[in-house]
Amino acid sequence: MDLLILAATQVATPLTLLCIVLGTAFGVMVGVLPGLGSVIGLTMVLPFTFGLPQVPAIALMLGVYCGSVYGGSVTATILNTPGTPQSAATALEGFPMAMRGEASRAIGWVTMSSMIGGLFSVTVLIIVGPALAKFSLMFTPIEYFALGLFALTCIAGVSAGALAKGLMGGALGVLLATIGSDPVTGALRFTFDSFMLTAGIGLIPVVVGLFAFSEMFLRILKLDEPGMDRTTMKVGFSLPPWSEWRSRIGMLVRGSMIGSFVGALPGTGAATASFIAYSEARRTSKRRENFGKGEPDGIVACESANNAVTGSALVPTLSLGIPGDPVTAVMLGALVIQGIAPGPQLFANHMDIVYALFMALILVNFVMFAVGALGASVFTRILRVPEPILIGLIMIISTLGAYGVSGSTFDVWIAFGAGVVGALLRYFAFPVAPIVIGLVLGPMLELSLRQGLILTRGSFLAFLERPIALVLFIITALVLLWPMLRWLRSRRA
């Protein structure tokens, strides 16, 4: 109890509160810009944390972290230009909703679900953090492979009606991810004698190209079509009423749980969580047939999931010292330089720091909501900019998103190529989200499969001897068979 009070006094200082507000606002801003995500945002504030005491430094980083995850979804919703893979799934429902003229409502769903997902995962972190970390250690490469296979099934969820095309896209993504140096042998493969390709194809440039560039290209084709009158579009922020929430509590809880679980496994991440949550929602929702046309169920599932990753990704980072993704790696670096060593002893000896972190994280989620609600009137007004002008401006900022990651023009060309190919694919009704799923999951799948083979000394059968992996394999098989079972049942009826 004393520790709680001590932590509270550390958080309730003007400096810490300022850090929370500024960090969150800055994070949302960085997230909104296509291509710039959490990592860039965090590295930008990293030098400032050097000069700050421990708790304000942590608060600043947490604000940027959570804010940037949320911010990406705002752009995905308003412009259909998700700059980071984690908000790609949100665009699938958020953007059609905004196009119906309900941008303010769509942002309302996004913001509320984000906050609840975030708070849910803080609760998870507080209650079962160290235990969850222990559980995550039951996942060896073999379990990761099984989980990766299961996650791949969400390709089917995001490509309804065009399954073969979706699968082709997914395979393309996995294939593109193998370009560069092989993680197991270090050999260079598929570089076609280009040195720049030895680093592989960057995920962010491809996402910027596939979504932002191709979206702008395709809009040019539709300029002459009678669209909706932009001056009547609702701008601002509007919270959905309770009557609409009530039936979606299940979605919200499930999304938050998926996000919290996936986040706690190092090396999976927010993109995987939101895609799994989306396809789960699509499979189980009563409003299944509205999906793809702006169904709030989809927004609620994705947003609660990707924001729930923020808290739970800190579980392995703090209690084991294992950052799960590039984002938590930067957070960990900042903590270590503050003299805070992660690991079990952090929870044993420095509970005041841990409590302060929890409190800051809770506050960050509320501030995020406020920033979103206030910012929405600015963001949604982007929709009123005349299309011919908007296209040029979005292209410029997206170009910088692709450039900013590593400051290389090569990445911009990758984005350009992905943009042209993406526009062509989308014109012929190839869903592009599976390409991103493939790119995200491919490296994890390959590495875990081959690590698993090394551990079992080359035996595939030994994969089935691991109980958790076996359960995941069975679930994967059931999910794949589900549509067939449903079809059989409907025939019998």
């Binding site: 990592v39 965090l42 590295t43 990293l46 030098p47 050097f50 250690l137 039951m138 996942f139 060896t140 490469p141 560069g180 140096s181 993680p183 197991v184 042998t185 270090g186 260079l188 040195f195 720049m196 030895t198 680093a199 592989g200 190092p266 090396g267 392995p316 084991l320 010292g321 294992i322 950052p323 590039p326 790696a329 930067v330 957070m331 960990l332 670096g333 900042a334 270590v336 330089i337 503050q338 003299g339 060593a341 992660p342 690991g343 079990p344 002893q345 590593s406 400051g407 290389s408 590495l447 690590q451 090394i454 551990l455 000394r457």
Partner: protein, 296 residues
Amino acid sequence: MAEAQNRPVTIVVPFAAGGGTDITTRAMQQGMGESLGVDVVVRNAEGAGGTIGVAEVARARPDGTTVAMAPVGPLTTQPHMNRLPYDIDSFSYVCLAYSAPTVIAVRADSPFETLADMVEYARANPGELNFAVQAIGSIPHVAGLGLAAAAEIEMTYLPVNGDGPALRALLDGSADLFIPHVSFYSTNADQLKSLALLQRTRLDEQPDLITAAEQGYDLDFPIWGGLVAPANTPSDTLERLETACDAGIQSDGFQDRMEALRQPPAYMGAAEFEAFVRETYATNRTLLEAAGLISE
């Protein structure tokens, strides 16, 4: 050239943000900037074992505005393994900014207490020990090869993707040992146990870490990195950078942060650094060749 002196200096870090190289560079940033009188900007250009970022600097204009924090791997091991658009002659050397030994680490509850325990087990069970390797051809990997050669043991190499995943592989039981940087080891010391410090003498800061040399194996594998500028950078510009590097390392901010990271300080001037790089380059070639990592 006068104009270039007022432009910000970009330090390209060829590894991801948040890692040891990145944090060390960012810790120097302010001190260097004050000495140079311009902004110093850190940019992460990761990929292909660090060679992408280092290659970018090899190709940059030699006006002192673009330098790399070049780590040991991209400078002295990668050029042997892959065809790269640079070699050790592509650079003007500025300074060595950090260098710290590696340790052979096992889980805290591991049955092995000394290097001898582990070697004995490995000899009795060839290939049974799983050795988590952060990246193929990296110094930890080369150090493992050195250990296997010196102790005449066989290990199974389990490639993982960096220090964090290597730690996870140890904790989840997939791997039995890995070779981290001493700073990473100290940060996670409550979950790990060091069998040997891979340096000839003990560390002043952490005298309890027993060296491999004391246990009969002459293994010395530091992880280091330093600033390099493109070849043909004018000598007065290089001198300014070298002075700034020294100032960055001497600054209180840097020293404090290295203490927080438990990273022992190190510094070499331009001439010494260049000689050191060339020597290590030659030694690592021998090790990699013996392991079959050089194809030709």
